[in-house]
Amino acid sequence: MSACHENQGRAAPVLSEQSIVLAGNPNCGKTTVFNLLTGAHQQVGNWPGVTVEKRSGSLQLAKKKVSVIDLPGVYSLMGGGGEDQRVARDFLLDTPVDLIVNIVDASNLERHLALTAELLETGHPMLLIMNMTDEAEARGWKLHCAELENALGIPVVPMVARKNKGRDYLLQRMIEALQKKPQGHPIVYPAPVEEALQTLGTAISGQTTARTRVDALRLLDGSAQPSSEQNAKILKDLRRHIELISDEDPADLVMDRRFSWAHDMAGIALQAHGKKGLREKINHHLDRIVLNEWLGVPIFLLVLYLVFVVSFSGGNIFLDFFDQASAALLIHGTGHLLLLAGLPDWLISVIAGGVGGGLNLVISFIPPIGLTFLFLAFLDDSGYMARAAYAMDRLMRRMGLPGNALVPMVIGFGCNVPAIMGARIIEDPRGRILTVLMQPFMSCSARLTIYMAFAVVFFRSNGGQVVFALYVLGILVALLTAWLLGKTALRGETMPFVMELPPYRLPSFRSVVLQSWQRLKVFIFRVGKVIAVIGLVLFILPGIGWTSQGLRSTDIDHSLLAQGSRALVPIFAPMGIKTDNWPAVSGLVAGAAAKEIVIGTLNGIYQRQNAADLMADYRQPDIIGQLRDALLTIPANALTFVRTLDDPLGLSAMTSTSATEQASGAESATLQAIAAGFTPLSAFAYLVFVLLYVPCASTMGALRREVGWGWMGFSLLYGTGLAWGTSTLIFQAGTFAAHPAASLAWIAGILTSFGLLIIALRIYGRRQEASPAASVKKQAAA
């Protein structure tokens, strides 16, 4: 509570810029309104998507800059819900804002208005957006905004934010509200409650009248605890008094009043009008299929499969164009210009080959990754994800997880960091730790770049399937991890599943494109930056090494990098990495910091090994010709895409060693080097290692923040051990015929270690149970 004073103190100097905060239940379209208001002017935090932290943007209102804050959805200011709702609640109660814009779903008005009742009590100026009026009308209701406006005492704006309807009117009413500061008519409670609020209010002195009233209400309905012994006694007496005269629990009195208020207000705003519309019927029929007892899970897997296969194959149409065109401009073009400028050869290699080459690799993966983001954003907005969570609930529950753990997992396909934060939507602490620990195995977009590079070389005809297989493997390992920990170290009950299923909506083109563009932007900038820097470092590092005369410039095969990586190769030998393929090990070591670097590292080294060829290119570049060739790959690849549509799915090509296939499509030096260093089997084992080991430094940071050092350390060791074990199992099983005895020894060793791990976790779990469980039992007995 003392934070309130600090906030007011801090906020005072910046009040020259007015601030608007968006508040509402989950699924009321807050983020859509936020996007509509701020457009591209947003400071995207870590990751957009399911909002679990507040985000801010800005807006021009009557020629003045106004800041707009988007909060996570919250059902009530009183309490309950996950960590995300706490963020919103604390902000709304403690921060002085110029206007609260409360967004309600008109098709579900009564429930959404319960929050409005609480917001009115905070005493901030308010404006109400009745969003999704089209859906309310489709349900056969007629809206009476003017009547509601009179009853509430604050402006009411009807909108269909998804279709960009009502924006101008909203802006006009917001300008008005910022000047007039309408505070509305808060609820009046039954007399005994009002008297109690007065008495409590004088006891908990300080702050504003509105804030005091909210605090008193929270004490009375039991969602906050009294701060002192004296207040506790006052509260106890007041409660008893109310129970005596009204024969009801004060918490129930407060709740009943709020709900009946919401019911009355909804009655004023909506009147039943015609029949239920087509939309209701579509909803009903879709739910019958999607929620079907037997079809639910297969449908979810099919949807995910289609997302990745279509993204990969569709992206393939443009991949070569992006690759070759950016290579022509960034590598050859830049190299030629630098040569004309008279720079020395080594510097040209660093800039054009190192930085340009690194960027070239990132750019070539924009089509498939952009498409993946586009499909995921579409799913997010369509209302399907909540159904998928319900469909998967029983399966997840068997793994010891709540069904809504699925939401962070899907976010994890984009990036593990927001996924770990997204686990805040899970209310019980045990489920949240399990969900957080699963996230590093969800295959993120940075890992996708590595799969893509390898898939282009080894699995060109069925890359979608290989990538899908890796994603599924990641999901399986994540579920297995949760199951294992739930049975051993983190035993306990899973909270029952209760989740709102939003109606199906055809997502707006604008919202989906904006959302996926923001993700892609973060991806390009973050990855691009890292790869450019690493490309530079790795262009220098392989140039120096220890010789008999000390540290000298050497060729790459005698460099520090080579010496260090070669020393580590024996560790990776069982999973099929040969000594001369030491750059692959360098990639993995660098990749522990960020997965984006793996390909950048390989690029830095391989480009240097091929530096001589590139210099010739810089002298006589044929940029126009290369761009024309690049453009021609689009129709050619489109034709392949169409032809392979009827190609039956299969993973057979994974084990094929045909050299022709390897070389096909390997345009750049890096891809050719990959082709030479791996077999399809060792490439797959390498990708499995990349999938499972330490995700990146940022993920580790997020893990530490959400579950602490201990679990972070466990995740690091467990993930890396599991990565090595699984890749070795795959490679040894695949090459079993060549050396049965050695393979058998490796496989037996790995399985034994895994068994030992399970026993150790079980012992840890028993010890943990012994201490807190005993105290719980004592409490139950008392």
Binding site: G80, G81, N108, L109, A114, A136, D393, R394, R397, F497
Partner: protein, 87 residues
């Protein structure tokens, strides 16, 4: 909305014992206070009328209250006590 026309004395039973597509009124919700609070925030509370949209089955049940649909897992379904309303 006008589902309060009880024609006969229906017994109170847990939600999972209702037939599919039935309508009912919530009598009480068993379980701990956190769970009751969580359901209350969603508008699932004693006195409100609900309609079964899907199930009940092994997975749980999907209900509709006014405009909103909720999926409720099996372990929770048994704790919601309702009286069936005749249509």
């Amino acid at each position: 909305m006008n589902m309060h026309n009880l024609t006969s004395e229906n017994p109170s039973r847990s939600l999972d014992q209702l037939p599919g597509a039935a309508s009912a009124r919530i009598d009480r919700i068993a379980g701990d206070r956190t769970m009751q609070q969580r359901l209350q925030m969603l508008g699932i509370r004693p006195g409100v009328a609900l309609h079964i949209v899907h199930g009940p089955n092994k997975r749980g049940v999907v209900i509709q209250i006014n405009g909103a649909r909720f999926a409720i897992g099996n372990s929770m379904v048994q704790k919601i006590w309702v009286t069936e309303l005749s249509a």
